[in-house]
């Protein structure tokens, strides 16, 4: 049995293809203006790494922000449930998930079967999201992939009081002008992000094991700050961006088997 999960986020799209119990392949693409095309592109990219074609996929579940406009999906399921299911497959011991996506951030609690028991989401502002990191990396003129490592070189964190992307940007410009080292500014930015998402985590309660998913899980600076606040070392999967799509594929398998 071959099924697919497609996660159309605000900044990136992912597809995961599952054969029986194993992950066959996956892909990550940038989200274009058309969610439907992003979904197609992601699925095609994932298929390219296999010997399969579109018609071999027996069931598809779409998730994420753009899930309702994936034309070839049999069903759509919220990214909350998909993240819990994906995380449970990768690490069955996980009970708390922090998904830090492109434009929102979610704290999720789940049980031993991967079913969501409690969740809170911040979709009001860009704080604690990939977009926030994007903007800061641009202001500091450091590639996004490097800001995590660079921040670790700081001896202390600069004071960035606002986790609002707009206000924090002007604070950072002021800090740069006053000659603060970029590493310390980044450390301050990561501190502000961690503060913000920690509030979300406290709302649902943190129970181990704890996993961080989404693109920001690749930012070691943010991960370390959150670990410090939570008092728990978070698990990070090999590819934290595909957890939602993986969950969608696992739902697809379940729904297909049910007929």
């Amino acid at each position: 049995m071959i099924v697919a999960g497609v996660d159309i986020g605000s900044l990136s799209g992912e597809a995961v293809i599952i054969k029986d119990d194993d992950i066959l392949s996956y892909s990550i693409v940038r989200t274009g203006a058309h969610s439907a095309k992003t979904a197609e592109k992601a699925t095609e990219e994932a298929l390219k790494k296999t010997s399969l074609s579109f018609k071999d996929i027996e069931y598809t579940v779409a998730t994420g922000y753009g899930r309702i406009v994936v034309p070839f999906a049999n069903e759509n399921i919220t990214e909350i449930s998909c993240h819990a299911k994906g995380a449970n497959y990768l690490f069955p011991s996980v009970r708390t998930i922090l998904d830090m996506g492109g434009q929102d951030c979610k704290a999720i609690r789940c049980n031993e079967t991967g079913k969501v028991t409690n969740f809170a989401m911040n979709d009001k502002c860009a704080a604690g999201t990939g977009r926030f990191c994007d903007v800061m990396a641009e202001v500091l003129d450091i590639p996004l992939e490097e800001i995590g490592e660079v921040s670790l070189q700081a001896e202390k964190a600069a004071m960035v009081s606002s986790a609002c992307a707009v206000f924090a940007k002007s604070e950072v410009v002021t800090l740069l002008r006053s000659g603060s080292p970029k590493s310390e500014i980044l450390s301050g930015i990561h501190e502000a992000i961690a503060d913000r998402v920690f509030g979300l985590l406290q709302r649902v309660g943190i129970e181990k094991d704890f996993i961080i998913t989404g693109g920001i899980a690749k930012n070691i600076g943010v991960v370390k700050k959150i670990a410090g606040k939570a008092g728990l070392e978070p698990l990070i999967s090999e590819e934290p961006q595909i957890v939602g799509a993986l969950g969608a594929a696992l739902f697809a398998k379940e729904r297909y088997n049910k007929g």
């Binding site: 028991t117 409690n118 979709d123 649902v204």
Partner: protein
């Protein structure tokens, strides 16, 4: 499942907390809400339960008057009509 609809910002916590495990889908709270914030919908696990409408989620603090400062003063409100204590507010 406990669902926290809303957000925290500099002025406070604005969450409507819904315990869907206790909800029987009767819909009484929907009629009781003066702001028409609530609706019934099927969740990912196939249960029809009450939720906060998607359009309201990011402005809950502005649309919902809150419980203590707002609807607790009304004879009928989303909490008074609920037999199972499904809904709570953080403000």
């Amino acid at each position: 499942m406990i669902v926290n609809y809303g957000y925290a910002d500099a002025s406070g916590d604005y969450y409507i907390v819904i315990n869907t495990d206790k909800c029987d889908g009767c819909g009484d709270c929907i009629a009781a809400c003066p702001q028409n914030i609530l609706e019934l919908a099927e969740d990912d696990y196939g249960d029809v339960v009450v939720k906060v409408r998607d359009q309201v989620r990011s402005k809950v603090g502005y649309v919902c008057p809150g419980f203590n400062p707002g609807c607790s003063k009304n004879k009928v409100n989303c909490r008074s009509v609920c037999k199972h204590d499904v809904i709570s507010h953080t403000w």
